[in-house]
C-alpha cells in the first residue's frame, strides 16, 4: 500500500464537470485579461499568450482540451497558471469556466477515475474524489503539459 499523503487540490468547473489540479503547483489565478495575443498557426486550444509580470505565458483553453463544444466566455472565466515542472519554462495558463475551491484531502480518499467515454484530449487522471455526490477528477498535470506541448 502506498503511503497516505495529505494533498491539496484546487477545483474548477468546466461546464457540467468538476476537475482539480494539485494546488501546490498553481502559481496564480487570474481573471481573463482583455487582450490575449493570439499566436498564429498555433493549435486551436492555444488561446494565445499573455504578459504575466513581464513573462510570456501561453494560455490554453481547457474547454477545448476537454472536448467541450460550447466555448462562449462569461465573467467567471478564469486562468489558472500552473507550473508542472516548477520552472519558468513550464508555466502555462489554463482557462476554465469557474474556479471553485481549495480541497484538503488524503491520497487514500482518491478512487480510480472511471470515465464514460473519452474526455477530450486528456489521457490520464490522478484519481477521482467524491465529495457531496460530486465527482472531482484530478488532472495529471504532466499529462496536460504534454498535450499542450504537442
Amino acid at each position: 500500500m502506498e503511503d497516505v499523503q495529505e494533498i491539496t487540490l484546487l477545483s474548477f468547473q468546466i461546464q457540467e464537470d468538476t476537475f482539480a489540479v494539485n494546488a501546490l503547483k498553481v502559481d496564480h489565478i487570474l481573471e481573463v485579461p482583455e487582450n490575449i495575443t493570439p499566436v498564429p498557426n498555433a493549435p486551436e486550444f492555444i488561446k494565445g499568450i499573455i504578459n504575466l509580470h513581464g513573462n510570456i505565458i501561453p494560455v490554453a483553453d481547457m474547454r477545448i482540451i476537454m472536448g467541450k463544444e460550447d466555448i462562449t466566455s462569461n465573467q467567471d472565466n478564469s486562468i489558472i497558471v500552473i507550473n508542472p515542472a516548477n520552472n519558468q519554462d513550464s508555466r502555462v495558463g489554463i482557462m476554465v469556466d469557474i474556479v471553485k475551491e481549495v480541497i484538503e484531502t488524503k491520497s487514500s480518499e482518491l478512487k480510480e477515475t472511471v470515465l464514460d467515454g473519452k474526455k477530450g484530449l486528456i489521457e490520464s487522471f490522478e484519481g477521482t474524489l467524491l465529495i457531496n455526490d460530486e465527482f472531482i477528477h484530478i488532472i495529471d498535470m504532466n499529462n496536460l503539459a504534454e498535450i499542450i506541448e504537442k
Binding site: A42, I56, V92
Partner: protein
C-alpha cells in the same frame, strides 16, 4: 541542506576540472613548469577532499591515485611525459563522469573504473626504477642541476630535550645531505664542562648550507617530527650552487673557527639574488597570495538562475518605465515628466548592466574545443596546431550554451575531413602540421566566430553530384559556388552514412545551421579546394535584447530584427496581384516575397499601400509583406517557452510599453520555411 553543498561541490569541481585541463594544456607545452604541476596537484587535491566529504567515494578514491602521481611529479620522482598527459586527460574525463553520476553502481562501469585505477598505479610502479636511480643521483649529479638548484641556509637549533625524546639529530643532518650538496656547521660552544654537563641533554646547534633542487617543503619535512623541539629557519640565499665558491668556503671556515653564526647577509655578494633576497622571496610569496585573494574577490559566483531573474526583473522595470513615459507624456505634469525621464535613464543603465552581467567569456568553452582537437588529432595521427584568437570575447551565456555543440561539430569536421595526414600534406606541398584557426571578434552589433582550417577544402563538384543523386537539385540546374555550398545546409543532404566518407565535409551542417539559427545566428561556408575551409558564424551579442522593427500584420504586432533588414519599400497592393510565383519586380529586379498575412493567416484587409520589408540573408534579398510598419523599437525578447516551440517562425515575444505583446519573427527561419516549401513542391 547537504544537497545544496553537494551541488556547490559539483559546480566547483567542474571549475576545478577546467582549471586542471587548462593547466594540462599548458604543461604539455612546458613539461617542467613547476607552477603548473603544483596547480594540477592542488586541483586534484581539492577534488579528492571534496569528493570524500560529499560522498563521492569513487571520485575521491580515483583522484587520490591521480594526485599521488602528481605528488611524485612535483617531488621530481616522476617525469611529465606526453603519455602521462594523455592519461591524465582521459582521467579527467572519467572524473567528470564520476562527478555527474556519483558513485558507480553499474558492474561494467565499475570494472572500467577499477581498471583505470590499475593503470594509474602502474604509472607509479613503472617508474620504480627511475625513482631509486633518481634519489641516489640527486646528490651526485647535483652539478648538472645547477641551473635548477637553489642554495638554502638552514638554522637548526634544537632544545635541550631533543635527545631524550629519542631523536638522533645526526640522522636528520644526514638526511639533509641526501637532499643535495650540503655543508653542516656544528656549533658546540654551549657544551658545558664535565662537572656541569647533563649528558643526555642537547647542547649543539647547526647551520647547514644546502644546495638542492628539492622543494622547501621537502627540506622542512626532514624536521617534521622535531618541529616542536627545535627552532628551525630555512632561508633561500642563492638561486644557484654557491657552495664551491672560494668566498663561500672562506665564510664557512670562519664560522667554524669562531663559533659565530652565519647570517644571510654574509652570502649577499655571492648570489645573484638582489639585496634582502630573503625578504624578496617571502614578498613574492605574499604577492602571490594576495593575487589569489584579489582574484577571488574580483569575481563572485552567482547561480545562473539568479542572473536570469535579475534580467527578467530589469526587463519588467523597463516595460513599466515605458508605460510611465507614455503616461507622463499624456499627463503633462512637469514633475512626473522629469521623474519619468530620470527613471528612464536609470533603468536603461540598469538594463545595460544586467545584460553585461549575463555575458560570459567564450574562454569557458574553449577548453572543450582544445580537448577535441587534441584528442581527435592524436587518434587520427594528424598534427594540428589549434590557434585561438579572441577567446576573451564575451557572449550571452544562453548563446554560449547553444554554441558549443555546433562548434564542436564544425571542429570535428575540420579534423576528420579537412586537415590531411602529415604525409598527404607534404606531398601536396604543405607543412606537415595543419592549422585550425578559431577566431572570435566583434563586428558591429554582432559577434563573428570563424573556424578555418588549411586542409584540403571541399570538392564542389562532388557536393553537386551528391545533391543530384539525392534528388535535391535537378541535374541541369546551374548553381553558383555559393549555391552549391548551401546545399550542405539542406536537411538530409548529408546523412550519417557519409561520416566515414572522406569527402563528406559538411556532415550534419544542416543541424549546425538549425542550432545556430535557434540563437538567431547565421552560418556560412567558404572553401577552396586544396587550400582549406572557413566556417563563419554570425551571432547577435545577446539573445534577450534586439533592435527591431515593429510591424502590424492583421490584428497582431510583430518585431522583425533590424539586423536582418536591408530596407523598406512601400508597395501598391496591385503590384502583388499582378505577380505570380510570389515574385515582385522592383527596380527591374525580381524579388521573391513572402506575405506574412498569409503565413500568419491574418485576414487580408484592403490597403492603399502595403509595406514590404526587405530581408537580406546570405546575399539574397527577400521581401516580407506586412500590413503596416509602426517603427523602430529596442526590445527585450522573451522566449515563448516549451509549449510554443513548434512555432518556429517566432523566436519569442516582447512586452510593449502598454503591456501588450508583440511576437518576434525569426527571419532566417521564415526564409528557410519558404525555401523548403519550394523544394518540396
Amino acid at each position: 541542506m547537504l544537497d545544496k553543498f553537494k551541488a556547490k561541490f559539483v559546480e566547483e569541481s567542474m571549475d576545478n576540472l577546467q582549471d586542471l585541463e587548462e593547466s594540462l594544456f599548458l604543461l604539455e607545452k612546458d613539461l617542467e613548469n613547476k607552477e603548473l604541476i603544483e596547480r594540477i596537484f592542488r586541483a586534484m587535491h581539492s577534488l579528492k577532499g571534496g569528493g570524500a566529504m560529499f560522498g563521492f567515494n569513487h571520485l575521491s578514491d580515483f583522484t587520490h591515485h591521480l594526485e599521488t602521481i602528481f605528488d611524485w611529479v612535483r617531488n621530481n620522482k616522476l617525469a611529465v611525459t606526453s603519455d602521462l598527459i594523455t592519461l591524465t586527460f582521459s582521467a579527467i574525463d572519467h572524473i567528470k563522469n564520476l562527478i555527474k553520476t556519483g558513485d558507480l553502481t553499474d558492474e561494467q562501469e565499475l570494472k572500467g573504473h577499477n581498471q583505470f585505477i590499475l593503470r594509474l598505479q602502474s604509472v607509479l610502479s613503472d617508474s620504480a626504477s627511475t625513482l631509486s636511480v633518481h634519489s641516489t643521483v640527486d646528490s651526485q649529479n647535483i652539478n648538472d642541476e645547477i641551473s635548477e638548484s637553489k642554495t638554502y641556509l638552514i638554522n637548526f637549533i634544537p632544545q635541550e630535550e631533543l635527545l631524550q625524546n629519542g631523536t638522533n639529530p645526526l640522522y636528520l643532518l644526514d638526511d639533509i645531505h641526501a637532499l643535495g650538496e650540503a655543508i653542516s656547521i656544528a656549533y658546540t660552544h654551549k657544551v658545558p664542562s664535565l662537572e656541569l654537563i647533563d649528558i643526555t641533554a642537547n647542547y649543539c646547534l647547526w647551520q647547514i648550507l644546502l644546495n638542492t633542487s628539492e622543494s622547501l617543503n621537502e627540506i622542512k619535512d626532514v624536521f617534521i617530527f622535531v618541529e616542536d623541539e627545535c627552532e628551525l629557519q630555512i632561508d633561500l640565499i642563492a638561486d644557484s650552487n654557491i657552495l664551491q665558491k672560494p668566498e663561500c668556503i672562506e665564510i664557512i671556515k670562519k664560522a667554524r673557527k669562531g663559533n659565530s653564526l652565519l647570517k644571510i647577509e654574509d652570502f649577499q655578494s655571492l648570489s645573484q639574488l638582489k639585496p634582502s633576497s630573503q625578504e624578496l622571496e617571502s614578498g613574492e610569496e605574499k604577492k602571490k597570495i594576495t593575487a589569489i585573494k584579489e582574484h577571488k574577490i574580483s569575481s563572485i559566483r552567482v547561480a545562473s538562475h539568479k542572473i536570469d531573474e535579475l534580467v527578467t526583473l530589469v526587463s519588467e522595470l523597463v516595460t513599466i518605465q515605458a508605460q510611465l513615459s507614455l503616461y507622463s507624456e499624456s499627463n503633462e505634469d512637469p514633475v512626473i515628466v522629469s521623474l519619468s525621464e530620470n527613471i528612464q535613464k536609470l533603468s536603461r543603465q540598469l538594463r545595460e548592466n544586467a545584460f553585461d552581467i549575463s555575458l560570459i567569456p567564450l574562454q569557458s568553452e574553449l577548453m572543450r574545443f582544445q580537448r577535441l582537437v587534441r584528442d581527435l588529432s592524436k587518434d587520427q595521427g594528424k598534427d594540428i596546431d589549434f590557434v585561438i584568437e579572441g577567446g576573451d570575447l564575451e557572449l550571452d551565456k544562453n548563446i554560449i550554451e547553444h554554441l558549443t555543440d555546433p562548434l564542436l561539430h564544425i571542429l570535428r569536421n575540420s579534423i576528420d575531413h579537412g586537415i590531411e595526414l602529415p604525409e598527404e600534406r607534404i606531398s601536396s606541398g604543405k607543412s606537415p602540421k595543419g592549422t585550425i584557426l578559431f577566431k572570435a571578434f566583434h563586428s558591429g552589433a554582432n559577434v563573428i566566430i570563424e573556424v578555418s582550417d588549411d586542409g584540403k577544402g571541399m570538392d564542389l563538384e562532388y557536393i553537386r553530384q551528391k545533391a543530384i543523386s539525392k534528388e535535391i537539385v535537378d541535374q541541369n540546374a546551374v548553381l553558383t559556388d555559393k549555391e552549391v555550398l548551401d546545399l550542405l545546409f539542406v536537411s538530409g543532404f548529408s546523412t550519417k552514412d557519409a561520416v566515414s566518407d572522406v569527402s563528406g565535409r559538411g556532415v550534419g551542417m544542416d543541424v549546425v545551421r538549425r542550432k545556430i539559427a535557434n540563437i538567431r545566428g547565421e552560418v556560412s561556408i567558404d572553401t577552396e579546394k586544396g587550400k582549406g575551409t572557413t566556417i563563419t558564424i554570425r551571432l547577435p551579442l545577446t539573445l534577450s535584447i534586439i533592435d527591431g522593427l515593429l510591424v502590424k500584420v492583421g490584428a497582431n504586432q510583430y518585431v522583425i530584427p533590424i539586423s536582418a533588414i536591408d530596407k523598406i519599400h512601400a508597395l501598391d497592393p496591385s503590384q502583388l496581384k499582378k505577380s505570380f510565383n510570389n515574385v515582385v519586380v522592383l527596380d527591374k529586379e525580381q524579388i521573391p516575397y513572402i506575405d506574412l498575412r498569409k503565413v500568419f493567416n491574418a485576414p487580408e484587409v484592403e490597403h492603399d499601400v502595403i509595406q514590404m520589408v526587405m530581408i537580406k540573408a546570405e546575399d539574397r534579398i527577400t521581401g516580407v509583406i506586412v500590413d503596416s510598419v509602426i517603427g523602430e523599437y529596442q526590445t527585450v525578447v522573451k522566449p515563448l517557452g516549451r509549449y510554443l516551440k513548434k512555432q518556429e517562425i517566432l523566436s519569442g515575444a516582447t512586452i510593449m510599453g502598454d503591456g501588450t505583446l508583440a511576437m518576434v519573427v525569426d527571419t532566417s527561419r521564415l526564409l528557410m520555411e519558404r525555401k523548403s516549401k519550394k523544394v518540396a513542391g
